[in-house]
């Protein structure tokens, strides 16, 4: 019975397979060569920069959206108003 659950656990952490984790840690240690905080800071920045990037692009596009008039009632024609 225990082995059944062990298999499931192993799948549950499929990306976190111990061998793979060990390998990833070694590679990252080789790349950064410093303490874990540096890696945490860099990866945390990467993670949180994704939503920031989406918002920045959306705001940068605000001008373009503003000059496009909404669709007509029948949705067949669109005119640009300056």
């Amino acid at each position: 019975m225990a082995s059944i659950f062990n298999f499931i656990l192993a799948h549950q952490g499929d990306a976190a397979d111990p061998e793979l984790l060990h390998w990833i840690r070694e590679r990252l240690d080789q790349i950064f060569g410093t303490g874990p905080w540096v890696v945490v800071a860099i990866m945390g920045f990467i993670i949180l920069s994704i939503p920031a990037f989406i918002i920045v692009v959306y705001l940068m596009q605000a001008k373009r959206r503003a000059v496009i008039a909404p669709l007509n009632q029948d949705g067949q024609e669109r005119k640009r108003i300056r």
Binding site: P36, G44, I50, P51, I55, R82
Partner: protein, 434 residues
């Protein structure tokens, strides 16, 4: 003043929805995949053995698979925005609360039940259904971008939590992961909208739905099997053809997630680090496989052919794995199977939307996902059992690999041209007086 000068078109709003869904999937799936990182430190602190903590994980897998159709139905009935927002709040809060774990029952309840159910609400199955509403011509591409979040989550969030754990302790690490999940809430609130009509748009950002008879692009009328409820889809063949092949998809991917590295070490005689490198490479390649499948399906059409091709390629990968008795066989398998790994969910979701429409898509996708999970669950147990009996992975890998042939045939036999909205032509409405 009116002008005819061609304006610079803004980015279609659907791409923001896609990007937001990508980030939600990235943090939601990523945080869940991190569970393996916490097994050792939590077990050490509480004196749990591997079996005890596995119960929480096992419960999580089952709850996630079984609850998906129900959350799919809620998604279909409510539109999805509220469900996704609430799921993120629950998922983030529950993940953060894992920092308070004091007993195995708390872990089983919080992770196995609450986190797993919340993940069903905001998971890739529902966000893929959302993509299907926002895109028609570029449906598979949008779903493939959405699906790549699963791979990205594993690739970035898991090492992140690993180093966070090293720098702090498991309680702080769970808390930070919960906060990261909650950080997707503003982006979800700002950009997740249920359908393009909510913003006065048409799918893909088209000016209007166009007729394009006979074209391999998805425009115009709906298919003959478009359903209002999931029950109607059960009376038709494509759902069973797709669910059957999706069952095999789960069977052939789960078994490798668990048993590939032990197989490579014990039966091919390579080191654990090399085995992990090959597996990591396979997970990396699957991002390109998913994106490639989406783009090819949208550009060239014939989604079911690409789906059949993906299963056939994976079958060839299995054959190589079992017949090439060296490290070369492992690399070839990783290259071939890696490309098909996430390509099949992308193509299945896209084809499901094309055949059955989007009204009950959340539920239908949830049901096919459940088949996928059942297949995976069974294959992992079967492989373990047969390994214990025979002392080798050859028989279980051969058995699950052989299933890829009928899966490929099942996908190929779907009458896509007959049923998919992509190939339907609009019957002209007679003019008044005709």
């Amino acid at each position: 003043m009116l002008t005819t000068e061609k304006p610079k078109e803004p980015i279609y709003y659907g791409w923001y929805v896609c990007a937001a869904a990508l980030f939600i999937g990235f943090v939601a799936v990523g945080a869940r995949n991190c569970f393996g990182v916490f097994v050792v430190p939590m077990s050490d602190e509480f004196g749990w053995n591997r079996f005890t903590i596995s119960v929480a994980a096992a419960l999580g897998v089952m709850v996630n698979g079984l609850s998906q159709p129900f959350f799919g139905q809620i998604f279909d009935r409510t539109g999805g925005r509220k469900l996704i927002l609430i799921s993120i709040v629950v998922l983030g809060s529950a993940t953060a609360m894992l920092a308070l774990t004091f007993h195995i029952l708390f872990l089983a309840f919080m992770f196995g039940l609450v986190v797993s159910m919340a993940q069903s609400g905001s998971g890739p199955s529902n966000t893929a259904a959302l993509m299907a509403r926002w895109f028609k011509r570029r449906r598979a591409t949008a779903i493939s971008i959405n699906s790549s979040a699963v791979s990205m989550g594993g690739m970035i969030m898991v090492p992140f939590s690993m180093f966070l754990l090293q720098a702090t302790n498991w309680r702080v690490a769970w808390l930070v992961l919960g906060i990261i999940v909650l950080s997707s809430l503003p982006i979800a609130y700002l950009f997740i909208r249920e359908r393009p009509e909510d913003r006065g748009l048409y799918p893909d950002g088209d000016l209007a739905p166009l007729d394009d008879p006979g074209s391999a692009t998805r425009r115009g009328p709906s298919g003959p099997l478009e359903v209002d409820t999931w029950k109607q889809s059960f009376r038709t063949a494509p759902i069973w053809q797709m669910a059957g092949s999706y069952f095999v998809c789960g069977t052939t991917t789960f078994v490798m997630s668990v048993h590939f590295i032990p197989f490579a070490i014990e039966e091919r005689g390579i080191s654990g680090a090399t085995a992990a490198t090959i597996f990591g490479y396979m997970m990396f390649v699957n991002i390109f496989g998913a994106l490639g499948a989406g783009v090819l399906s949208d550009k060239l059409g014939g989604t079911k052919n690409w789906l059949a091709f993906a299963y056939a390629m994976r079958g060839i990968g299995y054959a190589v794995l079992l017949t090439v008795d060296s490290i070369l066989g492992l690399w070839i398998f990783a290259s071939i199977a890696g490309f098909s790994w996430v390509a099949t969910p992308v193509l299945t979701s896209s084809l499901t939307a094309d055949v059955y429409g989007t009204k009950a898509l959340g539920t239908i996708s949830g049901i096919t996902f459940m088949f996928h999970q059942f297949g995976g669950f069974g294959s992992v147990l079967l492989a373990g059992l047969l390994f214990d009996i025979t002392g080798s992975y050859t028989l279980p890998f051969a058995l699950v690999g052989a299933l890829l042939l009928p899966a490929s045939i099942s996908a190929f036999s779907i009458k896509e041209r007959k049923y998919s909205s992509r190939y339907q032509t609009r019957v002209p409405t007679p003019a008044a007086g005709d």
